[in-house]
């Protein structure tokens, strides 16, 4: 029998350009406390803990082990880490709960991009033989994708600017970039500063719970009806950059196309990527897309995908959504994609 598993709580930091007054654990810990407080749980009550982060961001080896101090991991807890966005940590935790090994899970993610040069740091995730020696930065690769979309007449620069403006019109108090933001000069043409996500530091955490435990901990749990993740071939030149077959497949496997969703939280760090995702996910104008502002309003790397899942769940908790889609991405030009479908009980 498949267990019902829900997101029962979500918390995130106020995302900032720099948190140089705080270590990673000092930045993360308040979010862990907040998400635990929402459920009344303590660390000792949590069956499984899983985190997502990357040592390359701040240049600190094994930084995730220090971050564990904030959980209270002694005596030893059942714990795991992915060197990926926290959305994939959530996937691992969901799997763990499905096995019946645990009834509750704490999932968290954090990223401090401010100590380094993020555009250059991200080149180190690329193919080391053919690509990384050229140091193609994250904006350059996203710009190649944007130009491919413009060439295919799927978008144009004004439409991209509109995505940016709509995203930043959010009232999300945690956002780093809100309100009218100049669209700016070309960073790498055709992408302007406004088409790019803000660079900053932040953290997020969610709690998952199974079955009746979820109902005890949350008035309206956000049930994970399906979740799946898929990947594109790793060579950019093999892909059709105007499409995202991996997103479409993940959505299909997650059951996203079985019934319409009312809300979608998409992890599209660059404006043009929202165009690709809307097409792959068949989202029309009736769907509220990124009421949180998405990654264009705050993009703490390694946490921004988990935040999409958290925001979608929180909309269900608040009764603002009944069936929501959450998407997370990793790698250049939407390389890897995770899709989850969340539902609240009928009201």
């Amino acid at each position: 029998m498949t267990r019902e598993i829900a997101v029962v709580a979500f918390a995130q930091t106020d995302h900032r350009r720099s948190t140089d007054d705080l270590s990673e654990v000092e930045m993360l810990m308040p979010v862990l406390h907040e998400v635990l407080d929402r459920t009344g749980l303590r660390t000792a009550d949590i069956g499984f803990t899983c985190s997502g982060s990357s040592d390359y961001l701040a240049g600190r080896a094994f930084s995730f082990t220090l971050a564990l101090d904030g959980v209270g991991a002694w005596p030893p807890i059942s714990e795991s880490h992915v060197e990926m966005d926290g959305a994939w940590a959530l996937y691992e935790a969901w799997t763990k709960l499905l096995t019946g090994d645990a009834d509750t899970a704490l999932v968290y993610a954090y990223g401090k991009s401010s100590p380094g040069s993020l555009r250059d740091v991200l080149t180190r995730q690329l193919d080391p033989y053919y690509v990384a020696p050229l140091w193609p930065d994250s904006v350059a690769l996203a710009a190649l994708q944007a130009q491919a979309l413009i060439d295919a007449h799927e978008t144009d620069e004004p439409a991209l600017a509109a995505v940016a403006a709509r995203s930043r019109a959010t009232d999300n108090p945690h956002a780093q970039l809100r309100g009218p933001v100049p669209h700016g000069d070309y960073v790498v043409r055709p992408l302007r500063t406004g088409d790019c996500p803000p660079i900053g530091d932040g953290a997020a955490a969610v709690i998952l719970a199974a079955g009746d435990r979820a109902r005890e901990l949350c008035e309206r749990p956000a049930w994970i009806r399906g979740i799946d993740h898929r990947i594109e071939p790793h060579s950019l030149g093999v892909r059709d950059l105007t499409d995202s077959p991996s997103t479409r497949l993940a959505a299909e496997k997650a059951g996203a196309f079985e019934r319409p969703v009312d809300t979608a939280e998409l992890h599209a760090p660059f404006t043009a990527q929202e165009i690709v995702l809307r097409k792959a996910l068949r989202l029309d104008d009736t769907v509220r897309v990124n009421p949180s502002g998405g990654a264009l309003a705050a993009n703490p790397v390694m946490a921004a995908g988990l935040i999409r899942l958290g925001e979608a769940a929180a909309a269900i908790h608040r009764g603002e959504a009944d069936r929501a889609l959450a998407h997370a991405t990793s790698g250049p030009c939407l390389q890897q994609n995770l899709v989850a479908v969340l539902e609240g009980d009928p009201r």
Binding site: D21, S23, E26, M29, G70, G116, Y129, P133, A148, Y186
Partner: protein, 313 residues
């Protein structure tokens, strides 16, 4: 709030990788000014070549030479080249489908400005003057008005094939230690050791990391510890470390400073190495201008009773 401490942090490493048969042939080919692709089981030619088909996962070994000329499939103008990128003047990133290939290669195009670049434009490889068997053996692409260049007739077999690559990588960071460690370092600058006490379990962490790993809460109350302490355990180092100007053998020890809830580590000197023992009472020795104790030396006090430090082992 006190001023944030900062220090440059450089992470530098050579990425050393061995090559499989297809990557080896491709990179050796570049050294010899030949571009090779690989043919998939359904007849498509992948450039750059990979060892397994991205769709079917078939093992691919059928190397095919393609032309050094091709067509831009998408591009992006980079007005501000960054360190490590192939050109130091503004250029276009391009995906290029070489003549004879079915997929595109990522590289850069040397062009006078964005108005001279478009998707569909024809380009030609500019070879690097010095070639070593790396993707950077292609210096860049140049705009090209001629007919598709003819392949050289290479079989894909070369003398002295490249079997590995070394890609240097350097990332520059600005390290900031955060609240707790900054307070620790500020005190250390005054030759004082200040830990932090957990508000729940009362343990004093030295150096403090900002959180109690047992309780998962912030440690906030600052507590000066030491300067004297007790050797809880130790080892004798017999191998000289590179760049370390200390004669072997010497003793490296865990030292529980008086008042601390856990031991830190340091070198013991001022006593023959074979006379260091658990329970030995020590104190820090500072050298002029140092940011931390150079070593610890015996205080001359009687040894500490085992029960006073057994929980700190």
């Amino acid at each position: 709030m006190p001023e944030v401490l900062r220090a440059p942090l450089v992470v530098e490493f050579p990425f050393t990788r061995s090559l499989g048969p297809v990557q080896s042939a491709f990179l050796t080919g570049l050294r010899e000014r030949v571009v090779l692709g690989v043919r998939t089981t359904d007849g498509r030619v992948l450039v750059p070549p990979v060892e397994y088909d991205p769709v079917t996962a078939d093992e691919l070994r059928d190397l095919v030479e393609v032309a050094p000329t091709g067509t831009v499939t998408t591009w992006a103008w980079n007005p501000h080249p960054r360190p490590g990128q192939p050109l130091a003047t503004p250029f276009a990133w391009v995906l290029v489908r070489l003549d004879g290939a079915d997929t595109s290669l990522l590289h850069v195009l040397d062009a006078p400005g964005p108005d001279s670049v478009r998707t569909g434009m024809r380009v030609r490889v500019r070879w690097a003057a010095t070639r070593t068997g790396a993707i950077t053996d292609i210096a860049c692409f140049d705009p090209y008005g001629g007919a598709p260049a003819q392949p050289s007739g290479s079989t894909g077999e070369f003398a002295d094939p490249v079997t590995g690559i070394v890609t240097p990588a350097r990332l520059d960071y600005t390290y900031t230690p955060g609240r707790a460690q900054s307070a620790y370092l500020d005190a250390l600058a005054e030759h004082r050791t200040v830990g932090e006490r957990c508000p729940q379990c009362r343990k004093v962490y030295v150096p403090p990391r900002g959180a109690c790993p047992t309780c998962g809460v912030a440690t906030t109350e600052q507590v000066e510890v030491g300067p004297r302490g007790t050797v809880t355990t130790f080892c004798i180092v017999n191998i000289k470390a590179r760049n370390l100007d200390i004669e072997v053998p010497y003793v490296y020890a865990h030292i529980a400073l008086d008042g601390a809830g856990l031991a830190l580590h340091g070198r013991i000197a001022g006593i023959p190495y074979d006379q260091v023992r658990m329970g030995l009472r020590v104190e820090p020795v500072w050298t002029e201008g140092a940011r931390h104790p150079d070593h610890y030396r015996p205080t001359g006090e009687p040894d500490a009773d085992y029960d006073t430090y057994r929980e700190l082992l």
